[in-house]
Amino acid sequence: MKIELSIKRRPRELPYSNIIVPMGSIIISLIVSDILLVLSGVDPMVFFIVLADSFLSFSSIRYAIPLILSGVGLAIAYKANVWNIGAEGQILAGALAASGVALFYIPPDMNPVTAAVVLYVIGFSAGAGLGLLAGILKARFNVNEVLSTLMLNYILMQIVNYLVYGPWRGVREYGYPRTDIFPDNVWLPQLIIGDMRTTVNIPTLAISLIIPFLMYFLLFKTKWGYEIRVVGSNPNAAEYGGINTGKVIALTMIISGGLAGIAGVGEVLGIYRQLIRAERVSAGFGYTAIIVAWLGKLNPIGALIAGYFIGVLVSAGYTLQIISRISYGAINVVTGILLLSLISLDFISKYKPIVKVVR
């Protein structure tokens, strides 16, 4: 007796797979994760209570902001078949550039609005520049962007850490590896409800709510979006139609890098008010954003919703750590299983697996 496994491409994706695949993978990942938590001695309901609680918390919004910004950017790049996994480094580039300018170039009497605009532009450009570097390497020399963007993450990490441990280390920080607090005219205002301060900074929140719609418009209504989608779906047809593929690669790397850069600006100016160790600035958002992009089915508005959901998961992870003494890493299990089930369900919606027992 032997078991035969084969697959067959479905003539069309399963109906409603656009909704069923993300929803199904969320449900699967939550159930599997809960089982794992129960096995490590947590009450089965705790996970769901914490999760429900996180759905309406400012902490979730705080984490959702960088995830949405980077996730939307990655969705644009992935739509063009450009596999940018360097959002982590691009967040750091934005944070680094904004911090440097905030510390050394913004005069203390500059109008806060002007300062914010200048710093967002600087952060965007830094992230975009880093993205463009990988984009040019791909378009000109056919360097695989997965490798180049991934390696740039480590380079940026080392640069940031070199600066906060070395030349930029703050004089009023008791020797901690971080810069001095920025002058308060560059602080991005945080949301205050009644007398409760939240870690949600208003301008970056506003940007992260507008950008998905803007990018949706770009992708589905403009000629650039058309080019991005043609290049992503069929590079031969793009060439055939006279679309400059190199330009499209560069454009998507600029957008995805730039949006991650803005996320980095929001982190340092809106939350920490100083540049801290790289591992804490980007905090894995750049990698988690990959899941955001896929969970949102590479649709910018989908990424907005997915970004919020993953924000909830991240926030729930921290709460879980506090109340059940489970390490924060447990939440990475959830997102990991989420990505796995997402890919598997997506596969099943496109292919039909056939299992047969032959005697």
């Binding site: 069309r12 058309y226 047809a237 055939y240 139609g241 006279g242 400059n244």
Partner: protein
Amino acid sequence: MSRGTTPQNLFFNQEYREALAYMKDISKSFYGNKALNNVSFNLRKGEIHVILGENGAGKTTLVKILAGLYSPDSGEIFLEGKKVNIESTRDAIKYGIAMVNQYPQLVEELTVADNISLSLNNVGLFNQTSKIGDKIIEISERYGFRIQPWKEIMNLSFSERQRVEIIKAIMLDAKVIIMDEPTTLLTTKERRLIYQFMKKAKADERGIILITHKLSEALEIADRITVLRKGKVVDTVDVSEATYEKLMEMMFGRTVAIHEKILKRGLGETTSRRVLEISDLSVKDNYGRLAVNGISFHIHKGEIYGIAGIAGNGQIELVEALYGLRKPVKGDIKIMGKNYWEYSKKEIKRIIGYIPDKIQDAVVLDMPIYENSILKLYDTSEYIRNRFIIDYDRAIEYSSQLIKNYYIAAEGPDVYAGYLSGGNLQKLVLAREISIDPPLIVAVNPTRALDHFSTEFVYETLYKFKETGKAVLLISEDKDEVLRLSDRISVMYEGRLIEMGRREDVDVDLMEEYMIRGQNED
């Protein structure tokens, strides 16, 4: 009358006991469209059964179900009276059903023997290609083909590749051999060999299903003919009862008279103005070999220039260089009297309407028809509003026109290109390219995936296009197509062009010799 003796049941019982393969009441829908609607079909031992039908009639769908490539929505399949469940190609092979693809799917880098042993499931862990080699020679001699088992696939001609697939079917000891339009790309001699094979296989008690759109072929080789129209069986007839006219009427539901119309028209007037002028052009292929070797020709306004040749003689490299997808190593191209480099890359795409050999390279399958219809014009003032916003309403309107005027079988402009059949994709690209109204159309095998009617339609369209004073470069593996449409003809062989002269002067036998050997044997 009791149930068992109704004429219908009697027919059913008898047919399915006799049948080698019996497909009963097969239905299959794609996205709500019924591709097959209660189709029953039976194949006897030792017969050649032709399936005839227009494009989209469902003939390929039907055999793909038998070959395990599609699963039917409803219906049953019996093999020698036993009900079977065919869910994959592996099942089909197990039951002795093999399909010879129109475009053989083989691994280029491996030898003939390797390719065949790959598909023999029971070869075990160790490579037994040496044993297979002897078997291949034995089979190829028995069926009258010559094939060397140790040659790599990439060095084989199209018809040799097809023979590999046929030998594979025999090695699998297939009782049912499905042949999907096997003779489309063959010369008369090669076609004879295929017919000879089918007759021998028939004598071995195998059953052959032959899909074709050539009525003459059906009448020549078939024992029985089943005609499909719009997913239904019109009838199954014995070849003795069939005539050309009768089959035409069965296929189309009406008699057709446009068949010979084009030939009777006059030849294109030649004017002095040259639309395309190529001199001493050399182009390399992907492996760095010289695929086009110093060729020169020109095309006038109002002229169709036909280049006939078997695939792989440099035609693709030539048109890719012409369309700006490949850099020539030497030579000049002039279009409308201007040097090639005076045009931008985008301009070239718009002054040359290009229907490529691989039609999938000219469309985006996961985009709707209306987005595909603007692939070349999406950033021109016609479709751009406010500097960068695409006017999709206009694209939808435009593509609805294309669908209507070019008889593209699609429910509407928002159907995804991926859901169109090969023939309809071909028509979509033709429609788009012609409606841009370029001075030059380059068409490579423009009717390969098309049925009789659509082929005539494409010929008409290209002809009308030329008559408006435009130029057409027709590149085709089908010499009849070249002979029928072109004003001047040449043959491409191993990167060189052999001028055959004006159509009325062409010696057809000589042309065929040149296509196969590049020279005259006598």
